[in-house]
Amino acid sequence: KQWYQRRVRDSVAVTENLVASTQTISGTGALRIGGEFIKKFHSSETIYLPTPSWGNHTPIFRDSGLEVKSYTYYKKDTKGLDFQGMLSDISQIEEGATILLHACAHNPTGVDPSPEQWNEISQVVKSRNLLVLIDMAYQGFASGNLEKDAYAVRKFTEDGHRILLAQSFAKNMGVYGERCGAFSIVGESESEAAALESQIKIVVRPMYSSPALHAARLVGTVLNDPALYAQWLVDVKGMADRIISMREALKSGLEKEGSEHNWDHLVNQIGMFCFTGMTPEQVARLTEEFSVYLTKDGRISVAGVSSRNVEYLAHAMHTVTK
């Protein structure tokens, strides 16, 4: 239990034992428990997801018995955040509904709010009295810094939101198939946290009784051993830095090719994914003519880019977009 709480280290919530946590089957498992918990205990059965969001969010919450709706998030023209649209939509969500927020490295767009924008979002969410579920699958992986990537989680907790948090260790610890994640709720008091914890267990028991131990041992060992933890910080930064440098290499590669388009979004977006802005037709050409595989919405996985192929990719992208 302690090692989940390190992720919200130094916050009042943790020092006052207000957090109820459970290990989960990675991020998906945490989200499903969140969905089932909301359905069972919360007054509203509606959850709002950003547009777009991770494809599996909708089935997870729908199968939990919730109604899935959405709020504005991504702006196609700027390939960035439609901040005004987002605030406007959130301010019209019915009181008491649940809102899902991506903590960092938004999937699939790579577009994150700035800290100042998070501050405003927190206020609007509060004014609507919404229940907040934060999906944090990429902590550390986005900027390379665990603390920075947790800004939204910490801010919301500080602002008094009693958040639900779904964490995954798949990417930031590279333990993907071992299935390691956590689901936490910030309670109002220590005794509420204890009650919440036992209710979470009641949700889990009929699903699979208990999660896989090996994953927990692995991750727990790394998080609790000072030397391994220090090594992990280096490893996470290494992964994040590689992704960031590939973004930069791709952008400069396109500029070198003579592209006249604005490719700033490649480096402004953050995390594993990048919404390039290419059309389905351009994507089809990329695949057919250059054997570059990406999704029809123009999303590339930056992890698939390396120093060996970035020039080729830049050339291919320039060819289909010029």
Binding site: I25, T28, R62, D63, A170, V175, R179, S209, A212, H214
Partner: protein
């Protein structure tokens, strides 16, 4: 004396047992640098699914040859049951009454009650007077079920009674299931614990397969391989045709996707090695026989001790029951005496975990039973 373990094997010294073949498998895995931590598919580790299927249905099963069986890796037996119940709720076109034995594992009812679309029902199973399976009462109830209902059967080593149907009984049960077109779900948590021989223990399942019936098997590797917390299991489905079986598999995957995407790899790799690696397989089969034998010894110790202490009653059921548990036949009041006065912890239903009994404590246990029977009677 802790005899309320729940389904967890203990050695004679009262300790959990990590099977030597499992330790070896873990060593092999830890030093294999070609293995990574990438996601398994939604249906899990294929080598485990295939080996698990052959374990259940038999190496030369015609069902497998005809490609009518599919398997999906699950979060142990509970995970398999959950997916199975979700399947019934979401995709099964028949009646959603689910018949479960009276008594059964407590979590069965909890799981079914959790899904609003399913209706928990019971069939009589245990005759407390004769301490046998009341197969006629069971079949009468199933015969009165709505056509196309669902029935949950324990394939072997029934939990909690330890009393299994005879082959003759299984024939009657299969007949009524066919007559009423019931969808059968086998709970297979204790393969090998009944007789020590998993082919023998799988007889009921293979018999239903031979009859051409469609059914699910919810298999756990927790007890049979001592993998408990690693959560390794499999959900099998045998269909009337290959097409039906594969459609079912893709629906099962859809269910998995929105619960946890894909299952944990570590435990699956251990189990797969133990089943597929020739030397480890032989070792595992010996381990399974040893666990079974130890429990049989415990039964003998207790039975002998009960006789030696002249404890009133017929205690032959201690020997004839199968698996980890024994329904002693003690009443709730008698159990309370055992718990409070003699510090023997068992369930108030009278179920003891035979793993709690050893050669050195059997006498104490027997004498405590005697006192409990005499004391509680006076009350």
């Amino acid at each position: 004396i802790n005899a309320e373990y729940g389904g967890a094997y203990r050695t004679e010294a009262g300790k959990p047992w990590v099977l030597p073949c499992v330790r070896q498998a873990e060593s092999i895995l830890a030093s294999d640098e070609t293995i990574n931590k990438e996601y398994l598919s939604m249906s899990g580790l294929q080598s485990l699914c295939d080996a698990a299927m052959r374990l259940v249905l038999g190496e030369s099963s015609p069902v497998i040859q005809e490609d009518r069986a599919v398997a999906l890796q699950t979060l142990s037996g509970t995970g398999a049951l959950y997916i199975c119940f979700q399947f019934v709720d979401q995709f099964y076109g028949g009646c959603k009454d689910i018949y479960v034995s009276d008594p059964s594992w407590g979590n069965h009812k909890l799981m079914i009650d959790r899904i609003p679309g399913l209706n928990f029902k019971q069939y009589p199973y245990y005759n407390s007077e004769t301490m046998t399976v009341d197969v006629d009462a069971m079949c009468r109830t199933l015969d009165g079920a709505a056509e196309g209902s669902v029935v949950l059967l324990h394939a072997c080593a029934h939990n909690p009674t330890g009393i299994d149907p005879s082959r003759n009984d299984w024939e009657k049960i299969a007949a009524v299931c066919q007559k009423k077109n019931l969808l059968v779900i086998f709970d297979l948590a204790y393969l090998g614990y009944a007789s020590g021989d998993y082919n023998e223990d799988a007889w009921s399942i293979r018999y239903f397969a031979d009859l051409g019936m469609e059914f699910f098997v919810c298999q756990s590797f927790a007890k049979i391989m001592g993998l408990y917390s690693e959560r390794v299991g499999a959900l099998h489905f045998v269909g009337a045709t290959s097409e039906i079986a594969h459609k079912c598999l893709s629906q099962m995957k859809i269910i998995v996707r929105s619960i946890y995407s894909n299952p944990p790899s570590h435990g699956a790799r251990i189990a797969s090695l133990c089943l597929n690696n020739r030397d480890l397989r032989i070792e595992w089969e010996d381990c399974l026989k040893e666990m079974h034998a130890r429990i049989r010894r415990a039964r003998t110790y207790l039975h002998t001790a009960l006789k030696m202490a002249n404890v009133p009653g017929n205690w032959d059921h201690i020997l004839s029951q199968n698996g980890m548990f024994s329904y002693t036949g003690l009443t709730k009041a008698q159990c309370e005496v055992l718990i409070e006065k003699h510090h023997i912890y068992l369930l108030k239903s009278g179920r003891i975990s035979m793993c709690g009994v050893t050669e050195s404590n059997a006498k104490y246990v027997a004498e405590s039973f005697k006192d409990a029977i005499e004391t509680a009677k006076e009350n």
